[in-house]
């Protein structure tokens, strides 16, 4: 594999709000290759949607501060002028959204909306575009496409609308399709159909897919790689195989334990992740997950974990527990050991060394990482905090 289709490096997106700076995305890196699928998983407010909207420049605005690099086809999408980025949108990179009813304009026929998408990037006659619109509807499995193409969105069922959205997104043969919670608003049976459709279309058209979801079950079906996001960061990244068979982060464990599985005993209860997603304005100190982590140790409140390779491979995780301890805890979770004994197990993990030790526990974000452990992400944090105060933002500004 040579160069990835989309290579994101240390992406940071923050927004000025009346309550303070919202750190929606805080230094994430990932890559997607042609023909592959990346799943980005996380709760609401984990920054997963913001990161993908940023790919299309849809988070640009006077209150947004966007940093990092986002290389697509040899061009950095973050520094691309608005007009150039507009030409990428819907052409090389297309996107579909969660609620297909509200995502289609209620006043225009489905065909008209597809034609509009084509004509904004190609010089194609209206009749040719109309024919192609019907072909696209057929491609995504809408029956009687010649009639359907002249209907309004409200005459479509939910699943049909999402198919129409997919048809619209694919009408310009994009190299990358971003699907933001594409199945969340649909019935379970329809969900499976839409996922199968996406996979089938990928096999036929060869585009890369980024699928954003809160549901690990969804990405298990179709993703090659998975990035788990929490509080604006990637806390674990690996192949789907790695994430499902040897998950390393307690948050990932939580996500996995909250999916119902057919091979689990019927009376086994699903385990929710306790607590609420953190505020992205005042994030928890140290490891952002520590307030909700049952295995957090004292020092974890002060040390921010870097995203590090597990066993020197491509599997990455940002957790302060020792690798061996993590493996044993996950084994324990799988075999149904009780939480208390798992917590005792976590307590055997060596604590990370804190500079200046526990003399003064600083407020959130004030934490200095231990020099040896300072990750890319963390070592830049003080500098970034500073820079959020500068109002200048060149290319991000709206015209």
């Amino acid at each position: 594999m040579t160069e990835a289709l989309l290579q994101v490096d240390d992406l940071r997106v923050s927004f000025d709000s009346e309550d303070g700076v919202v750190h929606a995305v805080d230094g994430i890196s990932y890559a997607v290759d042609t023909g592959k699928t990346l799943g980005i998983v996380g709760e609401s407010g984990s920054g997963k949607s913001v990161s993908s909207l940023t790919t299309l420049g849809l988070t640009r605005g006077p209150r947004a501060k966007i940093e990092g690099r986002m290389m697509f086809n040899g061009r950095d999408l973050l520094t691309l002028p608005d007009e150039d980025l507009r030409k990428v949108r819907g052409d090389d990179i297309a996107m579909i959204f969660q609620d297909p009813l509200s995502a289609l304009h209620p006043f225009y026929k489905v065909g008209v909306q597809l034609i509009e998408a084509m004509q904004s990037h190609r010089s194609i006659s209206k009749s040719a575009a109309h024919t192609r619109a019907a072909e696209m509807l057929e491609l995504v499995g809408i029956p009687d496409p010649k009639r359907r193409v002249d209907q309004y969105p409200h005459e479509f069922s939910g699943g049909m609308r999402q198919r129409a959205m997919i048809a619209m997104a694919l009408s310009n043969e994009p190299k990358l399709l971003i699907a933001d919670e594409p199945t969340t608003a649909l019935d379970v049976t329809v969900q499976a159909q839409i996922l199968a459709l996406l996979q089938d279309l990928q096999d036929r058209l060869g585009m890369a897919i980024i699928i954003i979801t809160h549901d690990l079950g969804v990405v298990a079906e179709i993703a090659d790689d998975i990035a788990v996001m929490y509080a604006g960061r990637i806390v674990e990244r690996g192949t789907t195989e790695e994430i499902f068979h040897s998950p390393q982060h307690p948050y990932t464990w939580g996500l996995l334990s909250s999916i119902p599985r057919l091979d689990n005993p019927r009376d086994e209860e699903l385990v929710p992740i306790s607590g609420r997603p953190p505020s992205l304005i005042n994030r928890p100190s140290g490891c952002h997950f520590h307030p909700r982590c049952p295995y957090a140790r004292d020092a974890h409140k002060r040390v921010d974990p870097p995203l590090e390779a597990v066993n020197g491979g491509t599997h990455l995780a940002a957790c302060l527990l020792e690798g061996t301890v993590r493996t044993r805890i996950w084994d324990g979770i799988r075999t149904g050991r009780d939480l208390e004994s798992l917590k005792r197990l976590a307590a055997t993990s060596a604590q990370p060394v804190v500079e200046g030790d526990a003399a003064t526990a600083p407020e959130s974000e004030g934490t200095q990482p231990e020099p040896g452990e300072g990750s890319l992400v963390e070592s830049e944090q003080p500098a970034r905090e500073h820079s959020t105060e500068t109002p200048f933002m060149g290319p991000e500004e709206m015209p």
Binding site: G90, A117, Y152
Partner: protein, 320 residues
């Protein structure tokens, strides 16, 4: 659709009958001068007053009067005669309608041309100086009573009494057919007065609608498709945001055609509004009844037109 329209029209006619009945009742219940006495003059003998009372049909009971009135309308399309001039109410209204029509059409054109662009620009440039200035001006216009603004404009610009006598003032209106130039200049001030408040209301309404629409998911989709921002705003944003404005516009036009009483009175434009105003002052019941029916009819028709138009503007709306 045809069935729907017929049904709506039949309901409209019933509503008009009810409006008439209510007007009859109000005139009967509330104290007003005896029309017969007014008509007879100051020193009329009781015999003459009695004679006139019988002549006007005022000696009958209220239901009988109402029945006679309805019979006149439905059988002969006769809306009665003025207590004073003896002229037919219908011919009076037909004579006065062009003035009201002129006033309404010009004002509507003016406020649409002003209010809609201002609303769109304010929404797109939300929070900018332009937006704040426009909305400040709009608030000022909304807060000004029509008659007050009219008097102020006359005070400054009327050719007879104004400080800067540049435009024809009150009582200068002439019909379009008799002198188009004079017709136009005489209506400039009334148009401005009528349009000012409405333009302000429309710009604020459209601004609010558009701001809401621009936050919709389908706007994000339009941007994600790579449409130029101009197209996103016009074809996707304004198209949605304007629909409720069109509804309000229909109803406003209907309302104004029934007579812009304040504007017509201040500028002494002899339209429906002034006709009604004078008739109320003189307890000239047949005219009040006629103008009330006319106003009610315009509003009912406007409602039907707006509802039918909505089905064209919003494909989700279907009537059957």
């Amino acid at each position: 659709m045809a069935r729907y329209i017929v049904r709506r029209i039949l309901w409209g006619i019933l509503l008009l009958v009810l409006v008439s009945a209510l007007t009859f009742l109000i005139f009967d219940v509330f104290p007003s001068a005896n029309p017969a006495q007014l008509r007879a003059g100051r020193n009329a003998s009781p015999a003459i007053i009695h004679h006139i009372t019988v002549e006007l049909g005022l000696n009958h009971s209220l239901p009988v009067q109402f029945w006679d009135y309805m019979k006149g309308i439905f059988l002969h399309f006769n809306f009665g005669y003025s207590y004073y001039s003896q002229q037919s109410v219908l011919s009076l209204i037909v004579n006065r309608l062009p003035a009201t029509l002129s006033l309404t059409v010009g004002a509507v054109v003016l406020w649409v041309l002003a209010g809609i662009p201002v609303g769109i620009i304010s929404a797109i440039k939300r929070g900018s100086f332009l937006d704040r200035a426009a909305m400040g001006v709009a608030l000022t216009f909304v807060s000004m009573p029509v008659f007050w603004l009219a008097l102020i404009l006359l005070y400054f610009f009327a050719s007879d009494i104004g400080k800067f006598p540049i435009l024809p003032g009150a009582n200068t209106y002439v019909g379009l057919t008799s002198d188009p130039g004079k017709w136009f200049t005489s209506l400039i001030l009334p148009w401005l007065v009528l349009a000012a408040t409405q333009a302000a209301i429309y710009s604020r309404l459209l601004r609010g609608n558009l701001l809401e629409v621009m936050g919709e998911d389908y706007i994000r989709t339009a941007r994600a498709k790579g449409l130029p921002e101009r197209r996103v705003i016009w074809r996707h944003g304004v198209r949605s945001a304007i629909t409720p404005v069109v509804t309000v516009l229909g109803l406003d036009i209907g309302g104004l055609l029934g007579g812009a009483v304040l504007t017509e009175t201040v500028f002494e434009i002899h339209g429906i509004g002034l006709l009604n105003y004078d008739a109320i002052l003189h307890s000239d019941f047949p005219i009040v009844q006629g103008t009330t029916l006319l106003a009610a009819m315009f509003i009912i028709v406007a409602n039907i037109v707006v509802d039918i138009g909505y089905a064209y503007l919003d494909p989700r709306v279907k009537y059957s």
